[in-house]
């Protein structure tokens, strides 16, 4: 019943897509399409939430479509339900935002048909219960989002982004296909129930893990498979960027969890956890360092997705390491942290991308060096963006802090692990996590401060206007959810308990709702506890006390005057700190090692009136070491074989003959 209801949703979304294709001349089509996706996503969200509150019994359904001998299997369990909530919440909010934002789209016929299809694809991946439907939906999701990336295909950078995305998506699906093949075994049991029951040898299981990591990791943006993500996510229209970064990467995380935690069963070796953990740690730090070097606001956010995916995988890696040693209570904490961060990241990353969309509509710019001072014309957008920035920087009392706090608590349980390698790895990953949290704060001071604060650096920024009501509503819904998840973390942890139990042999964290004052105490109160609600309350109390006392007893006059700036205020806004100059100290400290950053100052000789120049060169270690050699090799080989295009018919025939002879010879020798 519930499943057929949920399955009718992708069908309805595809119908909307079809309608968008045929209604491409209708003036009100954009409003209509986004209203439809808004309603459908909200309905799906409500259905899943009601199902969740009503006891979340798993539901299954088999339809006679798909592969003839297999049929199509669908299933809704706690894990799928959680991710359905994430996807449809993101979908609903992005649609609401697009009700206003979509009016400014220069080429709506390139966005409207694909947007509902993209949502349908993501929903279908989560409901799939056999490999065929899963991969079909996965590829559908990839291709529809690829079409959205190419919505503005006249820009050269977008074409390159689309090409790279397509190559990486194909690679990822191939890896997933192979991992499902290993899971299905020689008998070809392609439905998930058979895979779950099958037992793999340790070698094959490890191979499946690596393939799943490659497949899901390339979609999620795990270093070193992230190269396409910061190019492709910003290329799409902002509400689609929000979906791709905030939601589609979560579908990829779902794919990894489904294969590794559910289908593979118990991890068979401790190094599984170690591998995932170290990839997560490297992604977290490299992602934020890349982000700090950017001055394109959307690309900065996309690199932050890499960082946050790293944090999620740190949690998952810890869970695998604990499970491999039968420490299910600790694994429950690590899994809860990872899933909590999945929810959090979908909230604040969508918020930040939508906020960037609002800036983009108001100014037409996403280069921070040409923005500034937007807090004056756009106070509400600025407030919402500020909440998102504080949340992603893991600042209490917002939600980002809670999941990072839980991850830290899980790391603190690692000395109990018996393996030496893990014992050494865990504190190092803890240091990386701490470093990435601190750098993220620096990065968002830069992103918010340069974009919204200071004085406008271009006429476009000076003439900005506040965004429309729909967009503001979408922004504030997300901001409110960020705050709520931050001050009532116990409710979220309790909501995650069934999923953690499902993936963790029944063990989950103790119920938090019985704690006094809604405190979060994952292990025990004497060990560690955090109460976001009280922190907020105390801050509000002491802040208002200060306001009250000062305005009652002391001066409350405020005069306006020119800025002081040590006595030498400079009137030109170009003398302000820019994104590049803000990041310069960090570039000098970290970038000289990681990116081989070089700065060159060219000063004209005295008396020469030319401007001085500062040139900064950065090198991308992942691209230079990993991708550049592969690209070079492919190009070298194809150049070699290029001559094959220009042969005479005589030569082609002899080649065919030679190939035939060789094949026959091979057959003979094989026999």
């Amino acid at each position: 019943m519930i499943l057929s209801l949920l399955l009718s949703l992708p069908v309805a979304l595809l119908t909307v897509s079809g309608a968008a294709v045929f209604a491409h001349r209708h003036p009100g089509r954009s409003r209509g399409i986004y209203s439809a996706t808004l309603v459908l996503s909200t309905v799906a969200l409500c259905v899943v939430l009601i199902h969740w509150l009503g006891g979340h019994t798993p539901a299954t359904l088999t339809l006679p479509i798909g592969l003839p001998w297999l049929g199509a299997h669908f299933r809704l369990d706690a894990l799928a339900a959680f991710f359905l909530v994430v996807v449809n919440l993101g979908g609903a909010v992005a649609s609401l935002f697009a009700l206003g934002y979509g009016q400014h789209e220069p080429a709506p016929e390139r966005v409207l048909p694909f947007f509902p299809a993209f949502l349908a694809g993501m929903n279908l991946v989560l409901l799939a219960d056999d490999a065929f439907i899963f991969l079909f939906a996965w590829e559908f999701m990839s291709l529809s989002s690829w079409a959205l990336v190419l919505a503005h295909h006249r820009e050269v950078a977008n074409v390159r982004a689309g090409y790279l995305y397509l190559v990486m998506a194909c690679f990822g699906t191939l890896a997933l296909l192979l991992s499902f093949g290993l899971l299905a075994g020689p008998q070809g049991g392609y439905d998930f129930a058979t895979m779950r029951a099958a037992q793999l040898t340790p070698g094959l299981a490890a191979l499946t893990l690596v393939l799943a990591l490659l497949g899901a990791g390339s979609k999620a943006g795990l270093v070193p498979l992230h190269v396409w993500l910061p190019l492709a996510h910003p290329a799409a229209p902002s509400h689609v960027s929000a979906l791709m970064s905030g939601v589609m990467t979560k579908v990829a995380v779902y794919g990894f969890i489904r294969i590794v935690f559910d289908l593979l069963g118990e991890p068979m070796a401790w190094w599984w956890g170690g591998l995932v953990l170290s990839l997560g740690g490297v992604s977290a730090v490299l992602g934020v360092l890349y982000a700090l070097m950017q001055h394109d606001l959307k690309r900065l956010l996309a690199y932050h997705t890499v960082e946050n995916i790293g944090i999620i995988f740190i949690g998952l890696g810890l869970a695998l390491a604990f499970q491999a040693n039968q420490m299910y209570a600790s694994a429950a904490l690590a899994l809860t942290a990872a899933l909590f961060h999945v929810l959090n990241h979908s909230l604040f990353k969508s918020l930040l991308f939508l906020g960037t969309g609002a800036v983009l509509t108001a100014t037409g710019e996403r280069d921070m060096e040409r923005l500034g001072g937007l807090i004056h014309p756009m106070p509400w957008t600025a407030l919402a963006f500020l909440i998102g920035a504080a949340a992603i920087s893991a600042l209490p009392p917002l939600n980002g802090f809670v999941s990072e706090w839980l991850t830290f608590q899980a790391i603190l349980l690692t000395p109990e692990l018996p393996q030496w390698m893990l014992k050494f790895l865990a504190p190092a990953v803890g240091a990386l996590l701490a470093l990435s949290a601190a750098l993220a704060a620096a990065c968002f001071v830069k992103a918010f401060g340069i974009t919204f604060l200071g004085r406008p650096r271009s006429p476009a920024a000076a003439q900005a206007r506040e965004t429309d009501r729909y967009s503001l509503a979408a922004l504030f819904i997300l901001a409110a959810l960020c705050l709520l998840a931050g001050i009532l973390p116990g409710l979220v942890v309790d909501g995650l308990a069934p999923i953690v139990g499902l993936l963790n042999g029944g063990a989950h964290l103790t119920a938090q709702h019985g704690q006094p004052w809604l405190t979060l105490a994952p292990v025990a109160e004497v060990k560690s506890s955090y109460n976001g609600l009280l922190v907020l309350l105390f801050m509000a109390l002491s802040g208002s006390l200060a306001v009250l006392l000062i305005h009652r007893l002391a001066s409350d006059v405020a005069r306006r005057g020119p800025a002081w700036d040590c006595g030498f205020p400079e009137s030109s806004p170009m003398t302000q700190y820019t994104a590049g100059s803000f990041a310069q100290p960090i570039r000098r400290v970290f970038g000289s090692v990681v990116f081989q950053a070089r700065e060159q100052v060219t000063m004209p000789p005295p008396g020469d009136a030319r401007a001085a120049r500062l040139e900064v060169q950065l090198q991308d270690p992942v691209w230079d070491l990993g991708y550049a050699p592969i690209t070079a090799a492919v190009i070298a080989v194809s150049t070699r074989f290029n001559v094959l295009q220009y042969l005479t018919i005589r030569r082609y025939l002899s080649l065919v003959f030679g190939a035939l002879v060789l094949l026959l010879l091979g057959m003979v020798l094989w026999r």
């Binding site: 807090i375 600025a382 920087s393 600042l395 209490p396 802090f401 706090w405 790391i411 603190l412 000395p415 014992k423 050494f424 504190p427 803890g430 240091a431 701490a434 470093l435 601190a438 704060a441 620096a442 001071v445 401060g449 604060l453 200071g454 405190t519 105490a521 004497v526 060990k527 560690s528 506890s529 955090y530 009280l534 922190v535 105390f538 801050m539 002491s542 802040g543 200060a546 000062i550 002391a554 001066s555 006059v557 405020a558 005069r559 005057g561 800025a563 002081w564 700036d565 040590c566 400079e570 003398t575 302000q576 700190y577 100059s581 803000f582 990041a583 100290p585 960090i586 000098r588 400290v589």
Partner: protein, 318 residues
Amino acid sequence: MALITDYLVQGGQMLLILLLAPLLTGWVRAIKARLLRRRGPSLLQPYRDLLKLLRKDVVLAESASWLFRVAPYLIFAAIWVAAALVPTFASGLLFNWTADLIAIVALLGTARFFLALAGLDVGTSFGGIGASREMMIASLAEPAMLMMVFTLSLLAGTTQLSTVAHFMLTAEVGLRVSLALALLALMMVAIAENARIPVDNPATHLELTMVHEAMVLEYSGRHLALIELAAALKLLLYLSLLGCIFAPWGMATAGAGLMAYLFGVAAYLAKLALGGFLLALFETSVAKMRVFRVDQFLGAALMLGLLGALLLFVSRSL
């Protein structure tokens, strides 16, 4: 009845730190002046400064936004709450479990986040230089601090400060390498976070060396008073933290009675006086370093913290 006493003690601690913070700043300044063979201002000068600032009008820059006016209150509130959560004269107070050490570090991060934003708000070059350098310093100091937290919690089995203090007071901790490393890391972080010499100079107004002062350059009147008070509270917080973790002697336990509390307060005051004296002594005996030496200083703190944690991962007895 017991609950009311608990509330009173908790409220008393919040008030105590608020009142003590300017005195501590005055004390450090006085000692520094004496060491430099100056007479120096009286111990009460910071209070007088604050009162004077409170009575003055605020002059806002023309390009200042609402964030600039809200930030001082937010910064003050975050630091006051963080400081109130560190056990000072007694452990196990009513609200100690609200946030553990990690959350206290993060609360200080919240305050810093808004201070750096306020520095960027007016759109002057000095605000930017301060904000950018502050975030660079924080990006190394915060992980170093968290590594110190790791070391502690591995040893005491908890990140709850009250429990840590209790553990240090009662268990046979003894002299440990890892604790020594953690102590060193925490002291280095405390110097950097409080903008003291050699990382920053709290008394400087020489343009290119400012970090903290550059961020608050545009503030005046009551806003500046709040920020100065918050800075004093932060110094008090770090000294309390050092005292609570590494020298918890004399600290009263929850519900120990009036005499124990009074003794706790006396011990706490003695610890602060000693800490302030040592800080002043250290500050007068070193020179300020270049901004781009700070990363080596704090990188060393981070490595010390990590080393301390690693030693404990290897063996619980180190």
